[in-house]
């Protein structure tokens, strides 16, 4: 547990805000409230924010926990390069997206939550954090076939000499049986 990576909390907050924004928008459109155009925008912005925020970033220190099925989102978000990598861009993007929500009651909550998320992202950016994709580690493919063709170069590992000597009083317990009887050179 070291210093907080603000981006992690900003990510949770922005994802929640996206859901709230979209829900408020759906209510506004379904109930045909005054200003339903803002509600439509709310749905679109909410869904966009959810898609952007779904893939978690790789942590600077420590193990990163992926969200279920986030790999395809990671690939899409990664494709935008510096736009999604930089948290200043994200902070300003969220701030801009949240403003129209303030014009209609149904989307106000989404607007404020997204605004808070934007502030936390700004804090993350000031602390120098950035978004890193979590990609599966590519292990080098195991080469099974090659080693069979070549004879071993080194003798097999054996315990050090003092252990190889059979103890006189433990002959029966000795693990190593000679294939032919050993006789003293006469």
């Amino acid at each position: 547990m070291g210093k907080i990576e603000w981006a992690m909390w900003a990510n949770e907050q922005a994802l929640a805000a996206g859901l709230i924004y979209a829900t408020g928008g759906i209510v506004g459109v379904a109930g045909q409230f005054r200003g339903w155009q803002f509600a439509c925008f709310g749905i679109a912005a909410g869904v966009f924010v959810c898609l952007l925020e779904y893939p978690r970033s790789k942590r600077g220190k420590g193990t990163s926990v992926e969200r279920t099925g986030q790999y395809c989102f990671t690939v899409c978000v990664k494709a935008f390069g510096p736009l999604t990598r930089n948290y200043y861009v994200r902070a300003f993007l969220h701030a801009a997206l949240c403003v129209p929500g303030g014009f209609m009651l149904a989307t106000v909550l989404g607007c404020v939550c997204l605004g808070i998320g934007s502030l936390i992202y700004l804090s993350a950016a000031i602390h120098g954090e950035h978004w890193e994709p979590i990609l599966p580690r590519r292990e080098p493919p195991k080469r099974v076939g090659d080693s069979i063709k070549e004879p071993p170069q080194n003798p097999p590992p054996r315990p050090p000499p003092e252990h190889r000597r059979k103890k006189a009083d433990k002959l029966e317990a000795a693990a190593y049986d000679n294939p032919m009887s050993v006789t003293v050179n006469e």
Binding site: G2, Q13, A16, V27, G31, L105, V108, L109, P157
Partner: protein, 565 residues
Amino acid sequence: MGNFAANEGLSIFVILVWLGINVFLFVYFYLAFLIERYYYTRVILGHALSWARAPAACLNFNCMLILLPVCRNLLSFLRGSIQYCSRTAARQLDRNLTFHKLVAYMIAFHTAIHIIAHLFNFERFMDSQLMINSSYLPYVLSQMGNNDNRSYLNPIRTNETNPTIVMFTTIAGLTGVVITLALILIITSSMEVIRRSYFEVFWFTHHLFILFFIGLVLHGVGRIVRGQTLESVKVHNPDECHSQFETWGKNGTNCPEPVFAGNPPMTWKWVVGPMILYVCERLVRFYRSQQKVVITKVVMHPSKTLELQMKKKGFKMEVGQYVFIQCPSISQLEWHPFTLTSAPEEDHLSVHIRIVGDWTQALYTACGGDKTVVMDAWTLPKVAVDGPFGTASEDVFRYEVVMLVGAGIGVTPFASVLKSVWYKHVQENKNVFTKKIYFYWLCPETQAFEWFADLLQSLERQMMEKDMSDFLSYNIYLTRWKDAEAAHFRVQYEAEDDPITGLKQKTLYGKPNWDNEFSAIATQHPGSKVGVFLCGPMALATALGKQCFSHTESGTEFIFNKENF
């Protein structure tokens, strides 16, 4: 099946009762707003009124409940009283945090319904102010009370406004925004990822609950939910008079103008009790933290483990309990939980702390961990201890046969148990109910053995002296090793003492075959209740839980207890 009921039955019952009360409150308050008094309110709002009031009642109930599971001193007190009646009931109190989270999710759910219903309410109130037409009942109703400030129905008093502005200028609206924001911030910072990585963010943001409760109590002060007064209903029956709205109050009608009033705030009645209990809880914690604690010994163990031995006047504990430790010189606000590794029979209390983060690292430095000279007692930092708080390990001695399973650092509560066992049998010679202990320790690395190995070695010696070597049967499993270490183990295979722990019983490699272990124990002890205690990761808990269910057969009953920090 019987074991399942024994383990989980009471929890499921409690959850069902809680859900049942929620459903009852929802339906009851939904119907309570379909009565005559609210006829005219419903003319404007329709059923959205009931859809807002029903979750409000559930919110009152759940906000009352949410403070109770986190009053740990109260729970300890309850646990002490209950455990004389029923062990199972007392064990439910271990699941307080799970219940707290469930209630929190329910609060979030009902908040969502409440807000959506109110969105419709605001819109409909606004509509009825804007449809300026004296033949339109909602408009007529909205004009009532224009002369005096008390008897209006529609909280939106003018048509030159919009719902957003109304929300920010009414008490209910403003407090609603504040408490919803507080709730959302609390929830996002309580996500497991944040909680396990940056506990401080979780803990400090969680204190927004104070704002939440203040806002909650003030939320109804504006009396924005309005209906006809009872006196007005007596003289003006809505069912008969609603169609004659154009002639209300005029000469010759028997329908005087209806008079409206707001409902008084009710929430405070629900939450004032738990709020007082919680304030008492914090006061108790503060009082306990002021009691003097002296560090008598500091031991640095090789596996980045710090052992602190402390003395506190009047401190009483039982096996496997935990305490919260605060070090004001490191942080005034942080209290961290640690399992006690000392036995109740000892004259001091000890904890073994693994150094993983900021706070533990700072504690290590403050206790002179990186210095080689001996430190004077007065240079050691002042600490405060709150507790002890109860956990499942207290039940260990109530079983005849006991299986203790600890993974890695999860073995700490059992250190306390084993020490207590040693004291009870060897020194005090009491008639102990527990006849046999099977101890399993799963460890990923050899270094972690160091401090515990000493304890096991001394126990082994003592038991051999007292001729009781079959009282405790322990199995240590090394679950991970490097190739270089493996070579060393192979070499030392024939040595008499184990190369890692120095104990007579050899360390086993890999994970235990639980099926075999449980079968062996079941055969050895037919017809008895075997208590299975685990301190370790969830995956192991599931595996052991399954084994308990499947091996509980004729006679032998395996009862599973799990603790997790």
